[in-house]
Symmetry: C2
Subunit: 470 residues, 2 copies
């Protein structure tokens, strides 16, 4: 026999009946009942049975939004019985087990595997901790959960633009959080600058602009390597951006989903987790997934690393809605620990293929006289097609995109990335060689103004540029 852990549980004052819960055999299966651990003196809502769990509740963590506090509270309240059950593993506790126990959410073993994996590939100065890892079904879910637990409805994140446009939906559809663009210019302003360069000055300006319009900014999103620029931030730049965020008490969400897709070693990519010291570790949250680096977006596997225990708990509390199958957990743990195969087989081959494909598309663009950006990371080239837009309008940009599509080439136009200059397009090159060849022929046909799709020359069916690297 053992005593229950003594724990203060601070309930939302108007939380409905089953507000506080307790898991029986897993932390997140939806087949699992939870129990009310609300203290008897806690108030019920005025209309008994009509609960509004969000009313009158303020978070007890300065890092969480009020709804984040509620989400975490549900979880914390659930802990007592759960821990009691699991503390007793030596003996037999009778509890309903209706689930394959191998298939529970976010088991410790997988989080340890992720921590070891990230420690190694992010080159962290000290080993990363499993308890700082949250595993969900992809980074879309991590964005959705972070927006919800960090922000009130209508609050905002800064994000340098152009940026991967789906993030707008990730933070908005459930979280009702908006993005404030930090617009970057293609123009190079000095000898040490590059096109679309992010600077602290631009961050400061965008933040002031939002503030002046009464928009509450709660965080900054950084994508590194950047999508769609293929750009990477130097350690000094990263440090500056993190210091900026700390000055303004902003959370920083660093999306490193292309971390292992840096195919030019010379660019010197560094994960934010490799920094000797994070200026504000409690507000620094790092995402990674297998969707890009292992080409498995359909597998649905994304991770969050944060030292902020409240944030980790609140995000994990949403794992019922973003849970990944035990099958996937098992397979991913196996994959992540196969360091020999990853280092000696997968990554060298993947980088060689990316480099060959990049070389081919870059060469074709040069032959067409098209300027482009690309620094040796990611799956795309950011191409400047402004010379094909006589008026330089987004309408023309869209028409050009339609012409590509009519010629059976699907590319992405800059407006989809909130680029402020019409005429930029993102071309993905991570494809089979003969398809790249065919695609580039069609791109050429469109840009050279041919209205008919020409017969595809047979060369594309056999010529495999990347075979050089095999």
């Amino acid at each position: 026999m053992f005593a229950l852990p003594e724990k203060e549980s601070r309930a939302p004052s108007t939380c409905p009946g089953p507000a506080s819960t307790q898991d029986l055999d897993s932390n997140c299966g939806d087949g699992l009942e939870r129990e009310c651990s609300r203290k008897p003196d806690q108030k019920l809502p005025e209309l008994y049975g009509v609960g509004d769990p969000t009313a009158g509740f303020s978070s007890n963590s300065s890092h969480l939004s009020s709804r984040g506090g509620i989400i975490k509270w549900f979880w914390d309240s659930a802990e007592a019985g759960y821990r009691t059950y699991h503390m007793d593993e030596a003996s037999l506790t009778w509890a309903p087990v209706r689930t394959n126990s191998a298939l529970t959410c976010c088991p410790r073993g997988l989080r340890e595997e992720v921590a070891r994996f990230l420690s190694f590939y992010c080159k962290s100065p000290v080993p990363l901790q499993a308890e700082n890892v949250v595993v969900l079904n992809g980074c879309a879910s991590v964005f959705s959960a972070l927006a919800t637990v960090l922000c009130e409805v209508g609050e905002a994140f800064l994000i340098p633009a152009p940026y991967y446009g789906a993030i707008t939906q990730h933070v908005c559809l459930y979280g009702n959080v908006r993005l404030v663009s930090v617009y970057l210019d293609s123009e190079v302003t000095g000898p040490d600058t590059r096109p679309f360069q992010l600077t602290v000055e631009k961050l400061e300006m965008a933040l002031q602009g939002a503030n002046s319009q009464g928009i509450k900014v709660k965080g900054l999103i950084l994508i590194n390597p950047q999508n769609p620029l293929g750009d990477i931030y130097s350690p000094a730049e990263l440090q500056n951006f993190l210091e900026f965020a700390k000055r303004h008490e902003l959370h920083v969400m660093v999306d490193e989903v292309y971390m292992l897709s840096v195919f030019e070693e010379s660019v010197g990519y560094r994960s934010v987790l490799s920094l000797e010291r994070l200026p504000d570790p409690q507000r620094t949250h790092v995402m990674w997934a297998t969707s890009k680096d292992f080409g498995m977006s359909g597998l649905r596997f994304g991770t969050l690393y944060t030292e902020n225990r409240d944030v980790a708990t609140a995000v994990a509390s949403l794992c019922r809605y973003h849970g990944l199958s035990g099958l996937v957990q098992h397979q991913m743990a196996q994959l992540l620990r196969d360091r020999d195969w990853i280092n000696q087989v997968y990554l060298p081959e993947n980088h060689a293929r990316l480099k060959a494909a990049h070389t081919y598309v870059a060469g074709e663009l040069r032959a067409l006289g098209i300027p482009f950006l690309s620094r040796g990371a990611g799956f795309f080239i950011w191409a400047d097609l402004r010379k094909y837009l006589p008026e330089g309008s987004f309408e023309e940009e869209r028409r050009l995109w339609r012409r590509f599509l009519d010629h059976k080439v699907l590319v992405s136009f800059g407006k989809a990335f909130e680029c402020k200059e019409p005429g930029w397009f993102r071309l993905v090159f991570s494809d089979k060689a003969h398809r790249l060849c065919l695609g580039m022929q069609r791109v050429r046909q469109v840009l050279e103004g041919k209205s008919q799709v020409a017969e595809d020359p047979p060369a594309c069916q056999t010529q495999e540029p990347r075979d050089r690297h095999r």
Copy 2:
């Protein structure tokens, strides 16, 4: 060469840059870029780059909330390029393929398999249609998505209480939707009534009560077979509840997650999808999952069946956040089509085990003189322990629960199900025989007031009540 589908796309008036999107190689992988299909004359937000996609947008579907309309709009806008790409399957369209194409979200084949499965097991009068099926990672996600796309923030669903308490979180944590309890009584009021019986009168009263407090009720949740009662609704009752909902233009969400766990055939369970005619098919939404009926809650597989195309599309639009792995999709399709094994091996064995376990626990409760409810469905018995609460308070209920836990038995108390009468407990019996035996011994110890945990008699380690059925 082919023309793009002509399609009107009605955009939120203040939608930010990358609001409208278009998928490249899947409907929901987060590695997939989407394109802006906003018409050039659509307005940008006043502060360029600071978008609030929810401002000034009203749904163009009477069945969707304003946010549901936005969610669906994102999806619809994405369709043109996606369809163009896939319409061209006969020839080769060049588009970036960075994903294992077998691992895309909600493929048609799986939805067809689900439709066939549900047609058969729900005994639908006509075959169910694949396009009405949405597959997500569990019914928790289906509840979360439905609450969000059907309700504005603060609106409510009716739900007969006691009910599976986690639904409170499912509709609230992301959707900010509340539950209005339709309180049921244990008291039997007439010869043809049963304890905790739901009636149309009770539904009407609860709805009026909510209306009088200014709470907007948008739907009704029915759990059938019911959790925690183990009760089922007759076809006539179902029809009455659906007619009630139709009169008040309420959506009905029917949670049939224990559909195949009816272990007493005599109770005559009928799925709502077996009804000859649904009073309001556009507002009737049916959920099923493998978590209970196949004991696989860790696999994360839940389905929604609805004839309402707007609702199906809006829920599917959230599948980036509730997506299940392609691995699971593949395995589930295989399982669902193995009708011989399910019918001849799995279900008979599962029902026999449930029945044996139920018989055992029911017998033990009778021996203890404890009244209980159970109609031959589900995994639990709803037991009346009111005689052990001298004052009949929820505080006592909770103390009794703690005593069970101190004796290493984890059961669920009625307050967690929003039961209005203190003293009811839910006992799950879907467990191994020797653990049930041990558990019931501990229950007896607690109820007979023994303060020490007795030695577990060796009988429990060997005696397997359900072996009789093998």
